[in-house]
């Protein structure tokens, strides 16, 4: 504060406490959180399937639903953060496979301990994120376009390099290589919880959600992410390092892709080089259902997790309910639409009741 102290006359306020700002009840605070609509949607969907398909409630089924949710959820964490920061990444689906292929092909071709491949794949994934970010900054094109281009390039690289190095469209098996079993234990094993085998991805997913939420809500960087997504010009004007934060966000998405890629590799050994296409939209859907605004500046990592959970429930629930499989995709779309509508309705209610 400057050395000149403000004289008492300047401390007068225009009126008493601002009577327009009422006291908020805990409930309305809760209702104002971005995840609340998604949570209500998730609960509704859960109850629905529990009624329609009793097997849904069995612990083994829940474990399966969580697994299906976790493989979307791991990516949804990164994609949610990026969306809050105001950008999209359409290359996420294939980037996961690129990571898996990097680890597999490098280890296989050079006869290395698989863990070396794992580390190099991490570098590759972070690099892909970094490049996405740099191109975005330099070209000033919308992230939609930049990452669409990288999506196409990665798709081609996945196919071309796999065939060139491994000789076929599927990467060669590395199950007999050193390090595979230990890597599998880390990335693709199951943990026994009260008699049920829960895949390790579920725990990795939850840990990532907790860390991401902490970063978002309790660190400087989180504040910057909200600001950049909400109003990039304003953020820049007050000195927020926009470039570094954006590139960091893309690299965070790359990191998530690495985690999921490693799971894919050690769970299924041979990686189909054409996989991954189409998943990028599922991650975005999970983030949006979870309350992240498409325009940025609002949302949460927990919301993205709930969105992934909704997707997992809808996807598997349809199977548990044994509905006609021809209508599968229709039901899935309908469930997602309903979950989103519930989200919006709850949010509107929360806002008007304040």
């Amino acid at each position: 504060m400057s050395s000149i102290t403000a004289s008492p006359s300047h401390k007068k306020s225009t009126a008493g406490p601002d009577e327009r700002v009422g006291k908020k009840s805990t409930l309305s605070i809760l209702l104002g959180r971005p995840e609340i609509g998604a949570l209500v949607g998730a609960v509704a969907l859960f109850i629905f399937f529990a009624i329609v398909a009793p097997v849904f409630l069995s612990p083994a089924s829940l474990a399966t639903v969580l697994y299906g949710a976790s493989t979307i959820g791991i990516m949804a964490v990164g994609v949610s953060l990026l969306m809050i920061g105001g950008e999209f990444d359409l290359s996420t689906g294939v980037a996961v496979i690129s990571s898996a292929l990097s680890a597999s092909l490098i280890s296989w071709y050079f006869g290395l301990n698989v863990w070396v491949g794992v580390v190099l794949a991490l570098i590759v994934s972070l690099l892909i994120g970094f490049i996405n970010g740099i191109i975005l900054i330099k070209t000033k094109l919308p992230s939609f376009i930049v990452t669409l281009a990288s999506f196409l390039m990665l798709t081609g690289l996945n196919l071309g390099l796999t065939r060139a190095i491994g000789g076929s469209v599927s990467s060669p098996s590395i199950a007999d290589m050193e390090g595979f079993q230990s890597a599998k234990a880390v990335f693709a094993s199951s943990v026994n919880v009260a008699g049920i085998d829960v895949k390790v991805t579920v725990f990795i997913w939850l840990a990532m959600v907790i860390i991401a939420s902490w970063i978002l809500l309790r660190t400087k960087i989180g504040n910057w992410i909200f600001a950049i997504g909400g109003d990039e010009k304003a953020a820049r004007a007050v000195g927020v390092p926009v470039v570094r934060t954006k590139i960091g966000l893309f690299m965070a998405v790359g990191f998530c892709g690495w985690v999921l890629g490693m799971h894919n590799l050690f769970a299924f050994d041979a990686v189909q080089s054409g996989e991954g296409i189409g998943n990028e939209f599922l991650y975005i859907i999970a983030a949006v259902i979870g309350g992240c605004l498409l325009t940025g500046g609002y949302g949460s990592a927990i919301g993205g997790a709930i969105g992934a959970f909704i997707f997992g429930m809808a996807n598997k629930g349809i199977v548990y309910a044994e509905w006609n499989p021809d209508w599968f995709k229709f039901f899935l779309g309908l469930m997602l639409l309903l979950a989103t509508v519930v989200n919006i309705v709850v949010k509107k209610r929360a806002e008007s009741s304040k």
Partner: protein, 293 residues
């Protein structure tokens, strides 16, 4: 205290020790062009602590360009820009902030969806803890925000609400309070009253005076001479990128200021035109009254 400064700007700022005889901020013959468009040319201005300098001009006069240069968003192409007597070229808003120059923009540089306290500390967040476990000191930031705003006269029970929910005038005040808190020595206000009603404008003008009384040098940009005159100590008039006058309060009256800005000649011409068209007695009388002052 508040602003975190990085090592580079510390080094740069070490050279800028205040010399008693120099003004806080001086512009001499400053100019800026974008490609072939000359946005600003030959502008002189002095800003002193505890004084309000008004920059007046219609749209397209070059006011935005001027602020952007002072606030570090752009760099000037010609002339001298001195801070505490030493020439300086501000490379980014961060550097400007570290040098004590804070700007409050028309669009306010606040993020509407974010809570007030997060906006208040944006770019200068307070943290506790060490290393990777550094986290935001949320309670402290909320307390300080509340305190600072109440010092400026806004009492908000809830600084958690999104700043977008405040009225225009309140948002201006939060932005000003933010600049004052973070040790701004020069405060630039870019058309703060442009979108406000009469009462709200009055509130903002009062805050300008408060900031002035705290020892800041205030640069008040506006196109409304009736807002500028009561609070200003000196007045810079811009038109189409050039200065058409730089007066202290003693040298000019509010009517002269208005006439200079509106362009006395243009008003006379307008009156003549209306006379020729006929039948617009009221408008005519007004125009004549304006032209004759």
């Amino acid at each position: 205290m508040k602003t975190r400064k990085n090592k580079k700007t510390e080094e740069q700022l070490e050279k800028l020790e205040p010399k008693t005889s120099d003004n806080l901020l001086t512009l001499k013959g400053v100019g800026k062009h974008y490609g072939s468009i000359i946005a600003l040319r030959g502008v002189d201005m002095v800003v002193d602590p505890g004084k309000v300098t008004c920059v007046l001009g219609d749209n397209g006069a070059g006011k935005s360009t001027l602020i952007k240069i002072i606030a570090g968003l752009h760099q000037h192409d010609e002339g001298e820009f001195n801070l505490h007597g030493s020439a300086i070229k501000l490379k980014s808003p961060r550097v400007a902030l570290d040098a004590g120059i804070a700007a409050v923009y028309q669009d306010l540089a606040v993020v509407p969806l974010m809570p007030i306290w997060r906006n208040f500390f944006l770019g200068s967040e307070l943290t506790t803890g060490v290393g990777p476990f550094k986290k935001l000191d949320v309670q402290k930031m909320k307390d300080i925000t509340k305190q600072e705003l109440s010092d400026m006269g806004i009492d908000l029970r809830d600084v958690e609400q999104p700043i977008g929910q405040l009225s225009g005038g309140e948002r201006q005040c939060v932005a000003i309070a933010r600049a004052v808190y973070f040790g701004a020595k020069v405060l630039i206000l870019d058309e703060p009253t442009a979108a406000l009603g009469v009462k709200q404008s009055g509130v903002v003008l009062r805050y300008i005076l408060q900031a002035r009384d705290r020892g800041l040098g205030v640069i008040f940009i506006t196109h409304n001479p009736h807002h500028a005159y009561p609070v200003g100590d000196s007045f810079l008039l811009l038109k189409r990128g050039r200065s058409i006058g730089y007066y202290s309060k003693a040298e000019i009256t509010v009517e002269e200021l208005t006439a200079q800005m509106a362009g006395g000649a243009e008003l006379a011409e307008l009156a003549h035109e209306l006379e020729q068209l006929g039948g617009h007695d009221e408008e005519l009388a007004e125009a004549e009254a304006g032209a004759s002052t």
